[in-house]
């Protein structure tokens, strides 16, 4: 790519000396936090950072990655999307019910993605054309998606389609590792990841390239940074705003498919509160909630931080689930306050 398309969010050249440091402050804090959390985990539980445990951080929260990616687009553009958890559930339910009716996976997967994107399109049009606040429009979409789930089915549907089953069971072996179990026996096991993780990573790569090296990506940043200015500059603000909600819903559809792969079922009450997790991941990853500044890779770090918190809970069975939520809340608060300070410093 040419130099004119260098990564965005940079401070003006006159402040480059400070800006260079400042623009990575938050992402640096997040990375540092992740490392500290992993070290603490290792001190508490010996196998916490063994190879497989690290890959499980991704593997067990794989559907959170697309949600966080989509949410990054929306928040960068200055909006918010509260419907992603419900759209994810809708995706898994549509997939499960169509597969149950005997449709083939080749048809079902595009249908799920199309249905999710259509919902995103409706939301985007409501927000950009009719000037309804993003949060209330996506709230309505959340009700709608969750309601449609319940209309389709009020209980979880198991999936016995061969393709979905194979995605559920598939392991991609990476290398062999010696592990010591509780009784002191040494065993050689394979460290593996799943195809779902690879799909999520591919999506992340695409999102990274789109956001940082495409005209559309720069427009997203511009709209989030200052909407009237970007309108006056002749950027296609409305089209961009519609697009980010379509992207978010599309990502939620992918998350729904990954969820269906992971659980081999479609669950109408899946992902309640996942919109909050996605927002938390984006905030922890250093994206400004007012829009215009942040990195999709930061959101990935945010997902890893959340995954590490969940891993604490998994390694210590006595830990109350409530504490994981409190921890996430405290982290979100910490990063929001950090954002406040960074923004006020930038303005000076």
């Amino acid at each position: 790519m040419s130099t004119s398309l260098a990564p965005v969010t940079g401070a003006p050249r006159s402040r480059q000396r400070f800006g260079r440091f400042e623009q990575y402050t938050q992402i640096g804090v997040t990375a540092l936090l992740l490392v500290i959390m992993l070290i603490v985990g290792r001190l508490l539980y010996p196998n916490f950072t063994s190879g497989q445990a690290i890959f499980d951080l991704l593997g067990k929260n794989v559907f959170l990655i697309p949600l966080a990616i989509g949410m990054t687009f929306v928040i960068l553009s200055g909006g918010i999307d509260l419907s992603v958890g419900a759209v994810m559930a809708l995706g898994s339910v549509i997939a499960a019910s169509l597969l149950q009716a005997g449709w083939s996976a080749v048809l079902v997967i595009p249908i799920v993605l199309l249905a999710a994107s259509t919902l995103g399109l409706v939301v985007g049009i409501m927000i950009s054309r009719f000037e309804i606040q993003p949060f209330i429009a996506t709230l309505a979409a959340m009700f709608l998606a969750r309601g449609l789930c319940l209309v389709i089915t009020d209980r979880s549907i198991a999936i016995d389609n061969s393709f979905f089953q194979s995605m559920n069971l598939a392991h991609i072996n990476l290398w062999e590792q010696e592990t010591v179990n509780l009784r002191g026996k040494v065993r050689i096991t394979d460290v593996y990841t799943t195809p779902s993780v690879l799909i999520a990573m591919a999506l992340l790569l695409v999102a990274f390239i789109v956001l940082h090296y495409s005209r559309f990506g720069r427009t997203v940043y511009a709209v989030g940074g200052n909407e009237p200015s970007s309108r006056l500059m002749g950027l296609r603000v409305d089209r961009t705003k519609v697009s980010v909600y379509v992207i978010s819903a599309f990502c939620a559809g992918i998350a729904g498919l990954l969820f269906a792969f992971y659980t081999a079922s479609g669950d109408p009450v899946a992902g309640i509160g996942y919109e909050l997790n996605a927002i938390a991941a984006v905030v922890i990853g250093g994206t400004l909630l007012s829009g215009g500044s942040g990195y999709v890779l930061g959101s990935m770090l945010g997902v890893l931080v959340l995954a590490t918190i969940y891993a604490y809970k998994e390694f210590d069975g006595d830990l109350n689930t409530g504490w994981t939520r409190v921890m996430i809340g405290v982290l979100v608060l910490f990063f929001i306050v950090l954002q406040r300070f960074i923004v006020t410093r930038r303005r000076r």
Partner: protein, 385 residues
């Protein structure tokens, strides 16, 4: 002035009456209220009772929204107060004694107050966007409730005194209705008979101008969140004592959405400023009546879809672009394609576009009585242009 207020509540009231009539069509004994064991029973009483917690939460939400804020944490605050009170009553030896219940209620409400003050602090002192600031407590609060109850589902059924709050009767009327009604009346008096309501509105309409006029926004915004927290706390007590169970994961789940919906249906704009407590009350009733109707006429599973459609329709009706478009349709009896395909103009030209058909016809107000606030909208535009 009187005409204006009747205008603002006209449409919510019409919708409510229509829904009640629809219920009557499906269930001919819908309005039958019977007196059994000296207590009132019947579908309308049930609707009022189920609406009571929503009314409470929506009251607090109305004031918060009027200050240009939003409180997403009400469900979590309800979970905290409800589960704490239940936990205390269960673990105490004599759950039936009034003093135990009073202590439980008192401490639970204190927690709700602290939660509200926390939100208020984040918004008014630290200046964090309301949606984000309350999101923190929305995530963490339910976690705290889980910690309080140790992840168990509690059954505080050993205390008739506690059950009174949500499920009991006083003077033949469900106590929760009286409680919600009393708090509603108190709030209405405090905001409308004192300057408080006007101050809240001024902060919401234009924070900068009200600051210049000498209104101190910070304590007002802070108080709005404290009040919202308190209302949510009481709602939490109601919900747990009515169902005699406290599951921190489900107490008040999605009640924030119902409350926001009630406020929006009631005609209070999400952009802040003018608020209508009576509108909120009607909004809450509409939600419960609609739920009752959907359950009878279609199925309990499709209530969420209906709620979503109502939110979308109400929001579209509040949007100025849709109003302008509807107005054109009403005036010329056909859809002018121009409004469909026009490139999205900058706001300035959009504002100028609205008055053009009206400016030519002075009789708009009488012919288009259905457009509730359009009259005032266009007047201001005319004055500026």
């Amino acid at each position: 002035m009187k005409k204006l207020t009747s205008h603002r509540l006209l449409w919510p009231a019409v919708v409510l009456i229509a829904l009640l009539l629809a219920n009557l069509l499906w269930n001919h004994s819908f309005f039958d209220i019977t007196l059994r064991d000296g207590n009132l029973y019947g579908a309308p009483v049930d609707i009022l009772r189920r609406a009571a917690p929503i009314v409470l939460v929506a009251l607090g939400m109305t004031l918060v929204i009027a200050t240009r804020g939003i409180d997403l944490s009400v469900g979590a605050v309800a979970a905290i107060s409800g589960s704490w009170a239940s936990m205390y009553i269960i673990s105490s030896a004599d759950g039936a004694s009034v003093s135990v219940v009073l202590t439980a209620v008192g401490v639970a409400l204190l927690m709700a107050l602290i939660a509200g003050a926390w939100n208020g602090f984040l918004v008014s002192v630290l200046g964090i966007q309301p949606i984000v600031a309350t999101l923190v407590l929305m995530v963490a609060g339910r976690g705290l409730a889980q910690v309080i109850t140790d992840e168990k589902i509690l059954y505080p059924d050993n205390s008739p005194a506690y059950k009174l709050i949500g499920g009991g009767y006083l003077l033949a009327v469900p106590f929760s209705i009286l409680l919600a009604g009393g708090i509603f009346a108190l709030t209405a008096v405090l905001t409308r008979k004192t300057a408080l309501g006007t101050l809240i509105e001024s902060v919401g309409v234009n924070p900068e101008a009200s600051r210049l006029a000498g209104v101190r926004a910070r304590p007002i915004i802070f108080l709005a969140y404290v009040f919202s927290g308190l209302c949510a706390g009481i709602a939490g007590l109601m919900l747990t004592s009515n169902s005699t169970s406290a599951d921190p994961n489900s107490i008040g789940l999605f009640i924030e959405l119902d409350a926001i919906l009630a406020v929006v249906i009631g005609g209070t704009s999400l952009a802040g400023g003018r608020f209508s407590l009576a509108g909120t009350l009607i909004g809450a009733f509409i939600i419960e009546t609609m739920d009752a109707f959907v359950v009878i006429a279609i199925s309990a599973r499709s209530t969420d879809v209906f709620k979503a459609c109502v939110v979308i329709i109400v929001c579209l009706l509040q949007s100025s672009r849709v109003r302008a478009w509807l107005l054109n349709v009403l005036r010329w009896g056909r859809t002018p394609t121009r409004t469909h395909h026009e490139p999205p103009p900058p706001t300035a030209s959009k504002d100028l576009q609205i008055p053009s058909p009206i400016a030519t016809d002075p009789a708009t107000d009488t012919t288009n009585g259905s457009e509730t606030t359009n009259g005032s909208d266009t007047k201001t535009v005319k004055a500026t242009s």
